[in-house]
Symmetry: C2
Subunit: 294 residues, 2 copies
């Protein structure tokens, strides 16, 4: 298991590096004369953090350990704000929380978790925003989870089809039942109940993936990350040179307000992070750089 943990963490770090490099490459490709083309190409700033320091600051469980690295690209030419976190943490769940987590009874609440999470908010309302995360969790059991969903301001049917197809192609070799199930799970999860509307146009979402073959499940999780890395930059390049109007930008800011509503009211990861004394800067990295509730 120690070898598996090390391989999973190394993959999340490697995927982070490849995504950051791909996004920085895109930053250099904006045509001269486009809005924000006069800015220097955006670069990721990285900041390591240590769970023990943070937990002690927040007066939380001092048994928590591990850490991570936040990466943030701010005020780029194409990317307005991207947050990419990788982290590898371990500790003990509270007895109450442990009841909700598979296998945590067998581990006396002990857990280990490693993963990557990413949210990108774009300058242009023509370029969809996106979220992706994948993770490995170990209690008395171990499993993978993750997913990705696309958040266009106005849906473009071909983009939606291509985004979904990328994940379908990644998942079908493992089990043709996965993609329809993970797609439905995503639609169900990223739904803003109080508005009766979807956050975006979906994608895939999965959790508790433990087929009994760890290598297979790890490969699947790598393939989900690789599918994201293949399709999302393609969608960005497809739309980043298109003109947009002030009204489209306004609508983007309104849609981002709803994105913030979802993350603060419903998102399990965000609420878990806030309620357990996580570093608010890292937990809330997903929030949009600018949003409106007119």
């Amino acid at each position: 298991m120690e070898d598996r943990k090390a391989r999973a963490s190394a993959w999340f770090r490697d995927l982070r590096d490849r995504i950051c490099a791909a996004f920085e490459e895109i930053e250099a490709e904006l045509d001269p004369g486009q809005p924000h083309a006069d800015l220097p190409p955006g670069k990721f700033e990285r900041k390591k953090w240590n769970r023990q320091d943070e937990a002690a600051d927040a007066g939380a469980n001092p048994e928590l350990g591990g850490g991570g690295e936040m990466g943030i690209l701010r005020e780029g030419r194409v990317f307005e704000k991207v947050g990419v976190n990788i982290s590898t943490v371990h500790g003990h769940f509270s007895p109450q929380f442990a009841k909700e987590i598979p296998g945590a009874d067998a581990s006396d609440g002990a857990f280990w978790a490693s993963g990557i999470s990413l949210v990108a908010h774009m300058r242009s309302p023509k370029v969809p925003a996106v979220h992706m995360n994948t993770r490995m969790i170990v209690t008395g059991r171990s499993w993978f989870g993750g997913g990705s969903d696309l958040n266009p301001m106005v849906e473009v049917a071909q983009d939606t089809a291509d985004f979904h197809q990328a994940f379908k192609a990644a998942l079908d070799p493992y089990d043709p039942a996965y993609y329809p199930r993970f797609k439905a799970w995503c639609d169900d999860y990223f739904f803003i109940k109080h508005r009766g509307e979807a956050r975006g146009v979906g994608g895939v979402f999965y959790d508790y993936l433990d087929s009994g073959d760890w290598e297979r499940d790890f490969n699947l999780t790598r393939d989900v990350g690789a599918a994201f890395l293949a399709i999302y930059p393609e969608l960005v390049r497809r739309h980043m040179q298109e003109p947009w109007s002030e009204a489209e930008r306004e609508w983007q800011l309104v849609k981002r307000g709803r994105y913030a509503e979802f993350n603060l009211v419903y998102d399990r990861g965000t609420r878990f992070g806030l309620m357990t004394g996580g570093n608010p800067e890292a937990v809330l990295m997903s929030l949009p750089p600018e949003a409106k509730w007119p």
Copy 2:
């Protein structure tokens, strides 16, 4: 009791009218040449809503009845966005929720509630934002609740002192223990736990006020509303003609992001409204017109 309900609802409506008139008066007082002075003075738009319609739309409890009126002033000269709701609703709490509400066992879950709630977000970062609400609730028991808190972007000690003094002066004639208790309650309630910081500079917050003398408690609630009406317009006039910098405006937008975090993550009224199928337009009227998470 029916007479009391009618008098309380009438007061909330009357207070609403007086506040709206006071704010519209301020809109006409901005000096020429100030930012936004070229805009027409802001006016409240009012929109009645009916709880039965809304509840049916949301598939919620069809036994809910009553309604209210949203008032919103958008893109004024001094006020960037003000939401003022009054409502008088009745129905039955779910058995689970009824357990948390005083007196709801004796009424078999039946409740009646009337109140006013207001949030003002200002153009100028020099003018504090504000929240105020007061309400009367009837189950097997009846009580009043409410409060007001001030949200300056940078604290001005004299404003804070005057705001607190206004409520102290309103409450002291009833019981000198009220003000310190209600002030502490406010500080405790309007605290953004995940950031370890207060939302604003406080004010007063009270709930379950039932001294056994309804007339006295009603008068107190009217005096809290009147105190708000006396002090807040004074603070607006004190600062509305002051110049401000782009950096101050940016900080205002960041503080507003934290205000949105508080309302979406912690505020009981907001979360209750969202979870029970309330009209999201009315429930989320408190959210800032524009906010940043840079």
